[in-house]
């Protein structure tokens, strides 16, 4: 599944994707937790879409960064879901959503500390073994560090190397974090083991203050993020690229246009001939 541009599946445009009128992604990404253990109406809708497109999955609740043990029952259900839907890439956030046996369903920042590297890497290894597939871990937007011993680039790199996992590089998150924490986004990217990047996310965000951007997935991708994307894809091998849009939906042709933009940039960088963007 190379040089492909996909879109995150939302209930708001599930019918459109099933009918293939205005949106023409090469694949779709879905959050397993939003569809698992569901029958009825939504199961039917999901089937209509998964019959038409290849599927990647972006997990929400595995909580790779939690202090406690993995949730083995959940992993069993998750594996079943990934197998049933023939999921080609499975990614999760480098964060935690649960401590003391309580979910809070939000992506919290893991302290960038030595012991956390070892701990999280061992959990990723275990999860990969149980799921029978590699996990691509995503660099998340974070709004505060927590007593850090290293910076984010080292934290991500060390974990990816120690866990022998892949990376989902969210270019918008790099931009957001670089802005919020005052570092150079390009330098950040050039420090990563880009050969481990198996998948890219692109999205829009919202600047809420002169010194704060929030990663909302509610706006169009802005030009500086396109440029950072171009910078990135010129330095790495071909991987699938996903457009994330979760709120404040525009006309669907605008989403298609964003996918076209991404496709054009990747085709230039990865010199593909099939420049037949729709």
């Amino acid at each position: 599944m190379n040089t492909k541009v996909g879109i995150g599946l939302r209930r708001e445009f599930v019918d459109e994707l099933a009918q293939q009128q205005q949106l023409h992604p090469d694949f779709i990404e879905l959050a397993p937790e939003n569809w698992m253990k569901m029958g009825g109406y939504w199961k039917k809708k999901l089937r209509q879409v998964t019959e038409k497109y290849p599927v990647t999955s972006h997990g929400l609740s595995l909580s790779l960064g939690s202090p406690e043990n993995l949730d083995y029952d959940f992993i069993k259900d998750l594996k079943k879901f990934l197998d049933e839907n023939d999921v080609q890439i499975f990614s999760e956030h480098l964060s935690y959503t649960k401590t003391n046996n309580a979910h809070i369903y939000d992506l919290l920042p893991i302290p960038f500390r030595e012991d956390a590297v070892k701990h999280v890497a061992s959990r990723i290894r275990e999860a990969q073994e149980l799921l029978g597939r590699k996990i691509a871990i995503e660099n998340v937007s974070y709004y505060t560090p927590v007593d850090a011993e290293m910076d984010e680039a080292d934290f991500l790199t060390n974990i990816a190397e120690e866990a022998d996992c892949n990376i989902l590089l969210d270019v918008n998150n790099v931009y957001v974090n670089a802005f919020n924490h005052n570092y150079d986004a390009r330098k950040f990217i050039s420090r990563l083991p880009l050969e481990k990047v198996a998948y890219i996310h692109m999205a829009g965000h919202e600047q809420v203050d002169s010194d704060l951007i929030i990663d909302t997935h509610s706006e169009a991708i802005i030009d500086p993020v396109y440029r950072l994307f171009e910078y990135t894809v010129n330095r790495m091998p071909e991987v699938p690229v996903l457009l994330e849009r979760d709120f404040n939906f525009p006309e669907l042709n605008e989403l298609q246009q964003e996918m076209n933009n991404l496709r054009n940039i990747t085709e230039k960088a990865w010199r593909k001939e099939n420049a037949n963007a729709k």
Partner: protein, 254 residues
């Protein structure tokens, strides 16, 4: 084989505790603005998900009562499900099981939440296969009504399925409801039942019974002499269920 230091683990717990309670905790190496963002965002996830799941309850309560309830749940209950869409069920059980002051003011609150949750549950419950051969349109004397398995049969103390909430709470009583989803569109429907038909459906869920057998059981249980009349009522009851797709047809008795 612990790899995480107590110190780091404690930092992580303190951040989640702060998110859940909103009580400021000055964690080393954090910034205030970012911390507040996490509290706001995580609370909103709970609040929005619960508002969507419980629109009637949310609308009925004062905003401050609602927020107090959500805050109490977020800080006081350890959510077990990894699936966010199932989290509202835990909210209902939290209200049901805990001694909350708000239940003195609104004794019907747990039932209202239960009722709203049931609609989600029936809409989303996993598909149930019907393996048996059945006859979708004809009834025979030796056949048994095949009830749509994607249903719940419940008893309520208020007619929440019949009247708007403000009226329903003025009519406490004993109500029976069949809640099911239709196989075509997956929409959820409610049917108000009399106690006799509840009895019939309960018997059917335990064993295969023909309408004749059901009529005899009802006649004995409720002391009604005229079994033929009961049979007639049963037939029209099942015809009605069939039209509404709460019943799928008839199957041969095993």
């Amino acid at each position: 084989m612990r790899t995480l230091n107590n110190y780091t683990e404690n930092l992580q717990h303190r951040l989640t505790e702060y998110c859940r309670t909103g009580i400021p905790d000055f964690l080393p190496g954090t910034n205030d603005k970012g911390m507040k963002h996490y509290r706001r965002l995580s609370f909103n996830i709970f609040n929005n998900t619960l508002e969507q799941a419980y629109p009637i309850t949310h609308e009925y309560l004062d905003e401050s009562e609602w927020l107090e309830l959500v805050n109490g749940f977020f800080s006081g209950h350890d959510c077990q499900t990894p699936l966010l869409w199932q989290m509202p069920y835990e909210f209902y059980t939290y209200v049901e099981e805990n001694n909350l002051k708000i239940k003195e003011k609104y004794p019907f609150l747990p039932e209202l939440l239960y009722f709203e949750w049931l609609e989600i549950e029936v809409h989303t419950m996993e598909d149930i296969d019907i393996e048996e051969q059945y006859i979708p349109d004809k009834q025979f004397n030796d056949t048994v009504p095949l009830i749509n398995p994607e249903h719940r049969l419940v008893q309520l103390n208020y007619p929440l399925h019949l009247k708007p909430i403000k009226e329903a709470i003025r009519h406490p009583g004993q109500y029976f409801v069949l809640i099911f989803r239709d196989p075509d569109e997956g929409n959820v429907h409610f049917i108000n039942l009399s106690v006799v038909f509840v009895f019939a459906l309960e018997q059917l869920s335990q064993q295969d019974l023909t309408i004749q057998q059901l009529a005899e059981m009802i006649s004995e249980k409720f002391g009604v002499e005229d079994a033929e009349k009961i049979k007639k009522h049963l037939k029209s009851f099942f015809e009605d269920l069939f039209t509404q797709q709460a019943m799928l047809g008839y199957k041969h008795k095993k």
